[in-house]
């Protein structure tokens, strides 16, 4: 009884715009669970500190390296935190379908549509069917990343006289040029312990967006188009053109699957360099050798599209979303707080944060490099979310990963995609 009263009060407070009234949540504790460990954990706590100052509530955050299984155990076992930060919409959608999530306050969808770049797509990504099958908005995206980046060392390019490619055709020509010079163009590593294979899924998704219309990508992700469609096989084989080419990858094709993705970019900074380019998301500088300055020692360019296909400038990205797993007044207030520009700017200033929030001040960014990445995000003609995160866990974090490892190991693209489709059929 008391609890539903609180919620009523909370909604009233929110609609009346009183969310920032000082100290109205004094004494309330809001628990948050998420996948971030240090240093990200410190940064998100700094964001929560702002919220605490404004409302008087106490926010405790606990991160876990096995967040996905942890949150399932806690929710099923009845010890859910107030809020959970999901790295993948797929898991949130599953939990929503089982009735474990609480929809966001009314008006949230409108706010996101108006204030986020490509707002409707963020609303769609946070909207799932509830236990009765009705669509509701559950997820508020906070912190996104851009995946369509190629990293390189400007000084190595300068030494060899290479130019930044503007199209996929030029990128392939550059790769061939590097091979002709007796060097190796790419460092590719798929190793990631239990998650081995995921970097390959990013490659395939990026190449899907560069060989097919966005609508085809959407059909593929939702399985309206089978996984073993020739269009997907084409994208997989385009990836194979890079990864299964002994001349193209440092350590040869055999090393791709087992080289750790964290060690892989270091080859660019060896002397002499083992490779010249590395395609990876915006987080990767954390794994460059100590002292590497992004923008000076290392830089990036947009992973270009095929000029002949005329598909514009597609961008692949991902993001984490906040969802309410255990409803309370404070949980709603905290999600509400994430709408404010200062929440975004606080983390922007600390580094490692991109945001689609149109109201956030881009001068808050810690470095020019991050501002440049954010501009890629805001300038994209097409933005698509990491497909493997949207597929069911058994596929996107299961057979898609393992299938790509098999493919790099020599299996044919037809066989691999067919067996992924079979595992998808089995889930239905």
């Amino acid at each position: 009884m008391k609890r539903s009263l609180y919620i009523g009060v909370a909604t009233a407070a929110l609609t009346a715009g009183l969310a920032h009234a000082d100290g109205h949540l004094a004494g309330e504790t809001i628990t948050v669970a998420g996948p971030w460990l240090s240093p990200e954990a410190d940064r998100v706590e700094a964001v929560f500190d702002l919220f605490e100052e404004q409302t008087g509530a106490t926010v405790t955050y606990v991160g876990s390296d096995s967040f996905e299984s942890q949150i399932v155990i806690d929710i099923e076992g009845g010890s859910a935190p107030n809020l959970a930060v999901f790295p993948q919409p797929g898991l949130a959608a599953d939990l929503a379908a089982q009735g474990h999530l609480t929809p966001l306050a009314e008006g949230s969808a409108d706010w996101i549509r108006e204030n986020y770049a490509a707002g409707q797509s963020w609303v769609d990504l946070g909207t799932y069917a509830d236990a009765t099958g009705a669509d509701q908005l559950y997820g508020m995206f906070f912190r996104v990343s851009v995946k369509s980046l190629v990293w390189y060392s400007p000084e190595n390019f300068e030494d060899a006289g290479y130019e930044i490619p503007e199209t996929m055709e030029e990128l392939i020509a550059l790769s061939d040029q590097i091979v002709a010079d007796g060097e190796t163009p790419w460092c590719i590593g798929l190793g990631s312990g239990a998650a081995t294979g995921w970097p390959a899924t990013d490659w395939v998704e990026d190449l899907m967006l560069r060989t097919q219309e966005p609508s085809v990508y959407d059909d593929w992700v939702s399985n309206d188009m089978p996984f073993n469609d020739p269009k997907v096989i084409e994208a997989v084989e385009t990836f194979g053109m890079f990864a299964r080419n002994d001349d193209y990858v440092a350590g040869g094709a055999a090393g791709v699957a087992s080289t750790d993705f964290r060690d892989s970019p270091k080859g660019m900074f060896d002397s002499p360099p083992q490779c010249y380019m590395h395609r990876q998301a915006s987080f990767i500088p954390a794994f460059f050798p100590e002292g590497t300055v992004v923008g000076e020692d290392a830089d990036f360019f947009y992973f270009p599209a095929f000029e002949e296909k005329d598909l514009g400038k597609p961008v692949l990205g991902a993001g984490t979303l906040f969802a309410i797993t255990n409803e309370s007044e404070g949980a709603h207030a905290l999600v509400e707080f994430l709408r404010s520009p200062e929440a975004h700017e606080s983390w922007m200033a600390a580094g490692g944060f991109l945001s689609p929030h149109l109201g956030a001040d881009l001068s808050s960014f810690e470095s020019d490099a991050e501002r440049a990445v954010n501009e890629i995000l805001l300038n994209a003609t097409t933005f698509r979310f990491d497909g493997s995160d949207l597929m069911p866990g058994g596929i996107g974090a299961g057979t898609f990963w393992t299938g790509m490892v098999d493919y790099v190991g020599g299996a044919s693209a037809e066989d691999v995609t067919t067996s992924i489709q079979e595992s998808w059929d089995a889930l239905k």
């Binding site: 504790t29 628990t31 948050v32 669970a33 996948p35 971030w36 460990l37 240090s38 240093p39 990200e40 954990a41 410190d42 405790t60 955050y61 606990v62 991160g63 876990s64 390296d65 096995s66 942890q70 399932v72 155990i73 806690d74 099923e76 076992g77 009845g78 010890s79 935190p81 107030n82 060392s153 000084e155 190595n156 030494d159 060899a160 312990g193 750790d260 964290r262 060690d263 270091k266 900074f269 060896d270 002397s271 002499p272 360099p273 987080f283 954390a286 794994f287 050798p289 100590e290 000076e296």
Partner: protein, 384 residues
């Protein structure tokens, strides 16, 4: 004890050598970790740990000083930056050097490299360089230089400093240490107590259904932990324990019991029947037999199980995460703290290596202390 050894020197030699071989085989992997815990992440991923013990020839990538701050106009229009690539005291022996990543060993020491259009650079053996050119050339960032040098072994204590004493972390580590002890000690003692009584009943008392119970214990040994987590957490929440120490003790006790009962029962069955029969004839109660005779005799088995249960609970993360660690952040344990240090994407080998040694210290200490109790005298003495 040395009845054999005293007689045949050859046997003694063979014995010593074979143990040495076995020990070396077993310590080698750990040694790699130990050496790695004193190296930086970059060193770990760029050369084998065994190579770090000797001076090695490496290609280093260094940079001249920033022209904006350090250039001097030595003649009209000629600017010079002078400096040393190495900091005081860390000099390395340079054999070749270069300025391009394509040819890091293009020049001999003392040679002057011509970078085109009058820009030159000269490098001496000790790392001192002179970089000269016009206003435009000597600007921007310091010139990148590659040197092939013989570097002496280099180790750092920073990893340990970082794991144990860094100000942001030390407070949490101290808290985690006490929390871990609070979890581990009862989780070791309680199952042993409960299991010892049960093992005695299963070994030496007659009652219907005994074989069935023994079978059940063996069957329960294989229950995979992962599948028990959700039903048990629901149970704890339903009976009001929630997440906390009580819950984690009970969970560790429950999960440790089958092995404890199994090991102890098998040990107790092997005790001489006469002692127990004689005591019974003398009118001792079962409780007395248990506490006065069985417990002391079973000490080696109790001690060995205690060591293992201690280790498991000490190294456990899964059970602690599910039954203890809530979102308050107060109930962290050592393993959790270490995983935290590894960072979101867990690529920090040096932290892993270091923390593995930090967390191994206490279990090893316990093993050394308990080893005294595993000695033969205790058992043999009381049998006689």
């Amino acid at each position: 004890m040395d009845s054999l050894a005293g007689k045949k020197p050859l046997v003694v030699w063979a014995l010593n050598l074979s143990v040495l071989a076995l020990v070396l085989l077993w310590i080698f992997p750990t040694l790699g970790l130990f050496v790695s815990s004193f190296r930086t992440n970059e060193q770990i991923t760029s050369s084998g740990w065994w190579a770090s013990l000797f001076p090695a020839e490496q290609t280093l990538q260094l940079r001249a000083l920033d022209p904006d701050d350090f250039r001097i106009e030595t003649a009209t229009g000629v600017f010079t930056v002078e400096g040393n690539l190495f900091e005081e005291g860390e000099a390395a022996d340079i054999s070749r050097w270069g300025t391009s990543s394509r040819a890091p060993d293009a020049y001999a020491v003392g040679e002057t490299a011509d970078l085109g259009e009058g820009e030159t650079i000269t490098l001496a053996t000790d790392g001192a360089y002179i970089w000269q050119g016009n206003d435009d050339q000597i600007s921007g960032r310091g010139q990148r230089m590659f040197v092939v040098a013989t570097v002496p072994p280099e180790f750092t204590g920073d990893n340990y400093n970082n794991v144990l004493f860094s100000p942001t972390n030390s407070e949490n580590m101290a808290k985690a240490f006490f929390n871990t002890l609070t979890v581990v000690i009862p989780s070791t003692i309680i199952p042993i107590l409960i299991a010892a009584f049960a093992a005695y009943a299963l070994a030496w008392m007659d009652f219907p259904g005994r074989a069935l119970l023994i079978a059940a214990v063996v069957a329960l040994l294989v229950v995979p932990l992962q599948l028990a987590l959700i039903p048990l957490l629901s149970l704890h929440n339903a009976i009001g324990i929630g997440k906390g120490y009580l819950g984690v003790w009970m969970a560790h006790t429950g999960f440790g019991l089958p092995l404890a009962i199994y090991l102890l029962r098998n040990y107790m069955v092997g005790l001489p029947r006469d002692i127990i029969e004689n005591a019974r004839v003398d009118g001792a109660t079962e409780f007395q037999i248990f506490t006065k005779i069985i417990l002391p005799l079973s000490f080696p088995a109790l001690a060995s199980f205690a060591i293992f249960q201690f280790l498991w609970t000490w190294n456990d993360l899964l059970v602690a995460l599910v039954f203890l660690i809530d979102s308050s952040g107060q109930t962290t344990v050592m393993t959790k703290q270490i995983v935290e240090l590894l960072g979101t994407r867990g690529g920090d080998w040096e932290v892993l290596a270091t923390s593995a040694f930090v967390s191994i210290a206490v279990p090893l200490l316990v093993f050394f202390m308990m080893q005294r109790y595993l000695v033969r005298g205790l058992l043999a003495g009381s049998v006689k």
